[in-house]
């Protein structure tokens, strides 16, 4: 029997570049974790709510400790490994180091040992890395995955529908947090399962994963803690408290037991560090360099699919899916959670894709501000002759709900009269101007080539946008 490469994707039907989620592997965890900070800083209000829910759940446990309800605290702060997400930091295999009962006890001991933590609570679950020697990035990811399991379930089911990934009915899934009752419950859900061992698969959005959490112990040690030690040395010249580590003689890891002793007593250290990380939130970006596949090969495949797909109504659905793949390839994780929608207007189907603009890139950030573009609509028209009614319909949809920048993906450059109509949409919609950009096969090919060469499709879009704005002057 041929050995399966452990790096083989668990879902073969789609390419990692073309989808919104991290594809787990057959025999090896992807060396990533869910970073709750990316939920915290997200422009998507649903993501921010999830972060608030995560923190509140943890603080429930802390409050239970403060009220000496230790069994309640143990119940709440119980975070077993979530192997279904296929992420972790083990060098081989997929069995990670889930928090489990032992480490639940460790968390409780940490809280018990830090009155200031009991008083303050936590603002980010990642702070536990700075307060407990046994908690690192993988535990943070597990804690998050446990509390957000309900979201991950719904997200997985939605993505499977979009990409035609088979769902198995009634898959047992344990330990889902119920917000109403504040209890962990088990359930049976429709989920994809591993072809290897039948275990459930939970998909995680690419937007919320990083190699290391933004708030992490190594960075804390290197920055805030070293500054603290330096200040201490200056003020206490001749004596050094026994419990404090020497500045340079130990590595960060070796010094951690002593570091957490300090932080448990001086929660202000943690507070200052967290605030400085929050100020630098714009630099907290999801990791993107874990892809195994060849980017140029993926780009060529997409180009080939596009050029071989004929225009016409019969291929409209296929064109919409291909555009979704291309847009994910080009813009994910700047534009995320692309959702295809189909509307019927006057008996004709209108196919569009709505993305959430969660980007820190300057252009998409500008779109969010200048055009209320938290959502960006891409309308797909599998035709060589874009008609006036397509422009009118798109203009009608743009507004407060969907934002004021929309894109029409079509097969070729529209006629002059259509261009003029697009200009008039801009001119006639002052002061809250609506802007419709056109992307045709040539444009997509250019961006795919650019991505292959390491260039930025977002910069390309910025230039495209500027060309429109100068043409309409």
């Amino acid at each position: 029997m041929m050995a399966v490469d452990p790096k083989t994707p668990l879902i073969a039907a789609v390419s990692q570049y073309d989808v919104d989620f991290v594809i787990p592997r057959v025999g090896l965890d992807v060396a990533l974790g869910i970073d709750p900070f990316l939920l915290y800083k997200s422009r998507d209000p649903d993501y921010r709510k999830m972060h608030a829910h995560l923190v509140e759940t943890f603080n429930l446990g802390i409050r239970a400790v403060r009220m000496n309800k230790l069994s309640e605290a143990k119940r709440i702060l119980n975070f077993p490994e979530v192997s279904a997400i296929g992420m972790g930091y083990t060098r081989s295999g997929k069995r990670g180091s889930g928090v489990g009962t032992f480490l639940t006890g460790l968390i409780i001991d940490t809280i018990v040992g830090s009155p200031s933590l009991q008083e303050r609570g936590i603002r980010h679950v990642e702070e536990m890395q700075l307060l407990s020697a046994g908690i690192g990035p993988d535990r943070v990811s597990d804690m998050t995955a446990n509390v957000l399991k309900k979201f991950l379930l719904e997200y997985t089911q939605r993505q499977c529908v979009i990409w035609g990934i088979p769902l198995k009915a009634g898959v047992p899934i344990e330990h889902i947090f119920d917000e109403q009752s504040n209890e962990w419950k088990d359930s049976y859900e429709d989920l994809p399962v591993s072809p290897i061992d039948g275990s459930p698969i939970l998909l995680v959005p690419r937007r919320i994963v990083r190699v290391l959490p933004w708030i992490n112990y190594d960075d804390f040690y290197r920055t805030e803690f070293k500054a603290y030690l330096a200040a201490k040395k200056r003020s206490v010249r001749y004596s050094r408290p026994q419990s404090e580590p020497e500045e340079t003689s130990k590595s960060a890891d070796h010094a951690k037991p002593q570091v957490v002793t300090v932080t448990r007593h001086d929660i202000g250290l943690v507070e200052r560090y967290v605030k400085s990380r929050e100020r630098q939130a714009a630099d907290a970006r999801p990791s993107i360099d874990y892809f195994d596949a060849d980017e140029c090969k993926a780009a060529e495949e997409l180009k080939a699919k596009l050029s071989s797909l004929p225009p016409g109504r019969d291929q409209a659905a296929e064109y919409q899916r291909l555009i979704l793949e291309i847009l994910n390839f080009l813009f994910n994780p700047e534009l995320i959670d692309g959702k295809p929608e189909v509307r019927t207007v006057d008996g004709t189907e209108r196919r569009d894709i709505i993305f959430t603009n969660d980007s820190d890139e300057s252009f998409w950030d500008y779109v969010r501000g200048a055009h209320d573009g938290l959502l960006v609509m891409f309308e797909t028209k599998n035709t060589n002759e874009l008609r006036m009614d397509a422009i009118n319909q798109t203009a009608t949809y743009l507004g407060d709900r969907i934002g004021r920048l929309g894109v029409i993906a079509t097969r070729s450059r529209p006629a002059e009269e259509i261009q003029r109509k697009i200009f008039s949409v801009w001119n006639d919609s002052a002061p809250n101007r609506k802007i419709i950009l056109i992307l045709d096969d040539v444009h997509f090919s250019e961006m795919l080539d650019l991505r292959c060469k390491g260039g930025s499709p977002t910069k390309w879009m910025q230039t495209h946008y500027r060309n429109f704005r100068t043409a309409v002057q």
């Binding site: 890139e361 300057s362 252009f363 500008y366 779109v367 910025q462 946008y465 500027r466 100068t470």
Partner: protein, 253 residues
């Protein structure tokens, strides 16, 4: 009828004809006077507009040059992108320049577009290059306005001279024969402008110049005025032998 009666009848017919022709000529000259008086007003309006545009152009060149100099200093000191204030100032200058210089008149200015930051401000070198381009375009425009002013000045003189000649014909008590070929001196007495040489001609048997009614009758007002533009284009402006008063240059209309 006797020969005497016939001759008398002929004489009376000729007299009546002469009277009729004189009346017709007076009516014709009266209409021409009205036309040329309207032309005077129209040209004066264009002169005022030209002066206004020239003043705006001068001010814009001055303002753009100032911004150029400041940005030039920043280019040498900083690799940072331009500030929104500088970008907006540059865009205002571009917009004002395009208002002054109409589309398709200057293809180089047509190619200049306002900066659209779209999340990233333009670099200082880019702002500098664009400002330079705009300033050069405005200088070309200033030169064109200056040429236009010269043409308008000559057209003013032409229109005023035509009015003067016609007024002399219609109002002066001089003999008819003198009125049909008025001298420059005669016309000057009715003129409020420098006499335009376009309105005078020289007969073969004289060195003097006389008001050219034949020329006046040969074409309409627009065609006469166009002769000035054509002469400017071919560099044929003649200096008037008799220089009248110079008009003061006004800074603003």
């Amino acid at each position: 009828m006797s020969d005497g009666e016939s001759a008398q009848e002929d004489a009376e017919t000729k007299k009546a004809e002469a009277k009729r022709q004189k009346q017709e000529l007076i009516q014709k000259r009266t209409k021409q006077l009205e036309d040329w008086q309207r032309a005077v007003v129209a040209v004066e309006t264009e002169v005022r507009a030209n002066k206004k545009r020239a003043a705006s152009c001068r001010k814009l060149i001055d303002h753009a040059t100032g911004l150029y100099e400041e940005v030039n200093k920043l280019v040498k000191k900083s690799a940072l992108p331009a500030t929104p204030l500088i970008r907006d100032s540059a865009n205002d200058i571009i917009s004002d320049a395009k208002s002054l210089v109409k589309a398709k008149v200057d293809v180089h200015l047509d190619r200049v577009k306002e900066f659209v930051p779209a999340g990233d401000e333009p670099s200082y070198p880019d702002v500098l290059v664009v400002l330079r381009s705009v300033i050069d375009s405005l200088k070309r425009h200033r030169s064109a306005l200056s040429t236009e002013a010269e043409v308008l000045s000559e057209q003013t003189n032409m229109a005023g001279t035509m009015v003067a000649g016609l007024k002399y014909f219609l109002l002066d008590p001089a003999k008819t024969s003198e009125k049909e070929t008025p001298s420059k001196e005669s016309v000057r007495s009715y003129a409020t402008v420098t006499l335009s040489d376009f309105c005078f001609t020289r007969y073969s048997d004289s060195t003097e110049k006389y008001f050219d009614f034949d020329g006046l009758d040969s074409m309409g007002v627009e065609e006469h005025l166009a002769r000035v533009t054509d002469a400017e284009d071919s560099g044929d402006f003649e200096e008037d032998d008799d220089k009248g008063e110079e008009e003061d240059d006004e800074e603003d209309a």
